[in-house]
């Protein structure tokens, strides 16, 4: 492929006012969840469109549809006015859609040049890869992008994330991709690297590429985007030119919603402090985190993805180490060295990734529930199955678990019911403090209500709950107090009285009121 030609003589493009890519009426549902409903999006050549929305608004699903990974249930995709279908990732790639993710999907053990030309490497007369031409072309592409500092022969593994992004973009350039999707590309970059990325985006704009830029950070959006599209709960709620819209206006579009979910009323008596954490620090992930959790309280932790909330919780629950700080549980200082110790002390952590960190698929329900409580259900070293069963039965019944038998493999349950098994498993350890990390992420409305109802019941019984959540309605509907974290620090602590969503989003994103 001759990469230089396309830059010296740009191909004829439709006028800038016509969108290059149009999605219209796109809907997509998964069992129990409606991810996208009748959404539209247009990307214009030479312009950056920012896609804005809370977690779970449907941004990732849309990206997967645009890159051929998911098929929409309804709606059309057209490029330059022509309807197309993207039955596979390969088809999307061939038609000129390239996505650059947070963790860019490239091949760590191949060279930069190989990554750029994988799948369309120049061939020699004998059909073998023409390495010399490939390296030369790779260097040319990188030079055009002002990324000549990247060695085309370097292993990708040895490059930083910013440079990996550059390689991904170089790959897009090498196939003359007209549509570039950047899904939170700055999440793992330093300030300097972000500046370099912005220069690159400017360059892509000059090249007439249509760019979709997904970010949670408003300063970045206002810095680089020309247009915006706002998603909320799987629907498109607004779009326009970024210069015509104020930040508050966009925040309102993101969070303004009809109340379609009633949160349980609860009358938990908030008592004395149970857990107090002070000066908790980690070398790279969080610093000087301190808070108090009271008996019967639900303490919400809000923040953007990557603000360090889960990392703090993993440290408190003994899964990772801290560099400084104290954790006092009911007047006793604890220095957890393992998860088993904190479970013993009375703190349990219900992790975010249900499949990976929560249920043990392949074991039956009752064995999943009893797994952290095996010490209590065994005598003289032997497990007592009857006791395991009754333990499992009492907690799964309270959570209204739908299963034909407790001997059933958890893998056969729906997501919502699996989550109930995970919660039952932790409750069975009789904890004092229960930390729920995104307890309702990706589960259906009915199961959400059951989990919320159960949280209310827990605090009514005198337990204390820490709830890490990125869902604003959940944070506002369930928490007694809300701690907002930003970039590994506690940004603010709010009493949940008359607290509004906009304040939380502003604090989390660092926008001045």
């Amino acid at each position: 492929m001759d990469t230089t030609a396309q830059h010296s003589e740009p191909k004829e493009r439709p006028p800038a006012s016509a969108p290059r890519l149009t999605l219209s009426g796109i809907s997509k549902s998964f069992p129990g969840v409606r991810a996208l409903h009748n959404v539209s999006l247009s990307l214009y050549p030479g312009q950056v469109t920012a896609l804005i929305g809370e977690n779970g608004a449907g941004k990732s699903t849309l990206v997967k549809i645009m890159t051929g990974i998911y098929q929409p249930d309804a709606g059309t995709i057209s490029i330059d006015g022509q309807a197309v279908t993207l039955p596979s990732a390969h088809a999307a790639f061939g038609i000129g859609v390239t996505a650059i993710h947070q963790e860019t999907v490239l091949f760590d053990d191949l060279s930069v040049a190989e990554n750029i030309f994988l799948g369309h490497a120049p061939r020699s007369r004998f059909g073998t890869i023409d390495w010399r031409t490939m390296r030369k072309n790779a260097r040319e592409v990188l030079d055009i992008m002002h990324a000549g500092h990247i060695d085309a022969d370097a292993r990708l593994r040895d490059l930083g994330i910013a440079n990996k992004h550059l390689v991904a973009v170089a790959r897009a350039m090498s196939i003359d991709s007209q549509i570039v999707i950047m899904d939170e590309p700055t999440a793992a970059l330093s300030m300097k690297e972000i500046e370099e990325l912005f220069l690159l985006i400017e360059f892509l704009k000059e090249q007439g590429k249509a760019i979709l830029f997904i970010s949670h950070k408003f300063d970045e959006i206002y810095r680089i985007a020309d247009r915006y599209t706002v998603f909320r709960d799987g629907e498109m709620v607004g779009e326009g030119l970024i210069k015509d819209a104020g930040q508050s206006q966009i925040v309102r579009m993101m969070v303004g919603r009809s109340v379609d979910h009633i949160f349980p009323q609860r009358k938990a008596e908030i008592g004395a402090p149970v857990l107090s954490v002070s000066g908790l620090s980690h070398p790279t992930e969080f610093n000087d985190v301190g808070f108090e959790l009271h008996k019967g309280e639900i303490l919400g932790f809000y923040g953007l993805v990557g603000a360090g909330r889960s990392e703090v919780m993993q440290a408190i629950s003994g899964i990772t180490r801290t560099s400084a700080g104290t954790i006092i549980l009911e007047g006793k200082t604890i220095a957890p060295k393992s998860a088993a110790e904190t479970i013993e002390a009375g703190i349990v952590y219900v992790p975010e990734e249900r499949g990976k960190q929560g249920v043990v698929i392949g074991l039956p329900i009752f064995q999943n529930v009893s797994l952290p409580s095996l010490k209590r259900t065994s005598k003289t070293g032997l497990l007592r199955l009857a006791e395991e069963f009754s333990l499992a039965r009492s907690y799964t019944e309270r959570l209204d678990l739908r299963a034909s038998s407790l001997s059933q493999d958890v893998g056969t349950l729906s997501g919502g019911n699996q989550q109930k098994v995970v919660i039952a498993k932790w409750l069975a350890t009789a904890p004092k403090v229960i930390i729920l990390d995104e307890p309702t992420k990706g589960i259906d409305i009915g199961s959400k209500a059951a989990v919320h109802g159960f949280m209310a019941e827990l605090v009514a019984q005198g337990l204390s709950v820490i709830m890490v959540s990125s869902e604003l309605p959940e944070i506002l509907g369930m928490s007694d107090r809300v701690i907002v974290m930003r970039e590994g620090l506690v940004a603010a602590v709010y009493d949940n009285k008359g607290l509004d969503a906009e304040t939380l989003v502003r604090t989390a994103a660092g926008i001045a009121a």
Partner: protein, 325 residues
């Protein structure tokens, strides 16, 4: 899951019955209870070894050094017996268990503390332990005439009409059954194999549990060392050379997933029996050893195919139920 596993074991049991039936058409005496008892006795050591390997494989690891451990420990007890015939056999068995345990603990520590993949660690100790056998023996053999009558006779003594070797196998099977179904350790072994990350969050020490399973497989290797040497009455550097593959084959035929987390005591025992019957019966009905190898090999591939199919079916069940809920 349990139902599915039972299903697999019944399949294997049916295959074994069919095999015995087929053989008895050519050689009717094969299906005699007396002969079947003999086949069980002949397969005892493989069954014991397969169970030791099973707990390791369930945690997504592998112990390639078991046969070398057997060889080394066998040499140690044979030399001890030759030098001090007065040492009673039960004490010698305890010594074999301890020596095996030490070798297993070395594997386990390397896997646990240094985080080296078990296949690499035990590939190394496979040669080291066999080399160590050469070092302690100077390459010499210990022959039957140097072993005490008790040393050779212990496992052959009959108790209720069944040799002690078979009783030892039955005892080991029972202990493993108890371990895997009724103890916290057994439960942790399954949990680690299925989902190591969730196990960490649940408070299971994954590294330490792996250490423990290598200790178990080491002890089994050591025990089998005494049993093997006293059965074949010769200790040399060549003892059980390459036998680690038979052990793993028995596990695989028994439906123990090399990916960890799936498998049962019954499966491992039946897998070993299947191989035992093939190697016992085929020479009797005049089938060449090369055919034996081909049949064993086909059985391995067939077993893996059936297991893979079983797992796929499980996937379909998930979808149907998910839709129904």
């Amino acid at each position: 899951m349990t139902a599915l596993l039972k299903y697999r074991e019944i399949w294997l049991l049916a295959a074994i019955v069919l095999l015995i039936g087929l053989i008895s058409t050519r050689f009717p005496a094969f299906a005699d209870p007396g002969n079947l008892r003999q086949v069980f006795n002949d397969t005892s050591i493989l069954m014991i070894l397969a169970l030791g390997q099973m707990v390791v494989v369930l945690t997504r690891s592998i112990d390639l050094s078991m046969a070398s451990n057997l060889c080394f420990t066998g040499m140690v007890v044979a030399m001890l017996n030759a030098a001090h015939p007065a040492i009673p056999i039960p004490l010698l068995i305890v010594i074999a268990l301890v020596v095996g345990l030490v070798l297993g603990a070395i594997n386990g520590l390397l896997v646990w503390r240094l985080n080296i993949p078990s296949i690499v660690v035990t590939l190394g100790t496979l040669t080291i332990y066999r080399g160590a056998t050469f070092v302690i023996s100077g390459g010499a053999w210990v022959n039957a005439d140097k072993m005490s009558p008790d040393f050779i006779g212990f496992q052959r003594a009959a108790f209720l009409g069944i040799p002690v070797l078979s009783w030892i196998a039955i005892l080991v099977i029972a202990l493993f059954f108890l371990l895997m179904t009724r103890t916290a350790l057994g439960r942790s072994i399954y949990a680690i194999g299925v989902n190591p990350t969730a196990s960490v969050y649940t408070g299971i020490d994954v590294g330490r549990t792996k250490f423990v399973v290598f200790c178990i497989s080491g002890m089994i290797g050591g025990l089998s060392g005494y049993l093997w040497i006293s059965r074949y009455v010769i200790a040399s550097v060549e003892v059980a050379n390459g036998y680690e593959l038979n052990i793993i084959a028995a596990c695989v035929i028994g439906g123990i997933s090399i990916a960890g987390g799936i498998g049962s005591v019954g499966g491992a025992v039946l897998g070993a029996l299947f191989l035992g019957i093939i190697s016992n019966a085929l020479p009797v009905i005049n089938i060449s050893p090369f055919w034996q190898m081909a049949i064993s090999g086909s059985a391995i591939i067939l077993a893996v195919m059936l297991n893979a199919r079983g797992e796929r079916q499980q996937g379909r069940i998930i979808l149907r139920k998910a839709e129904a809920v």
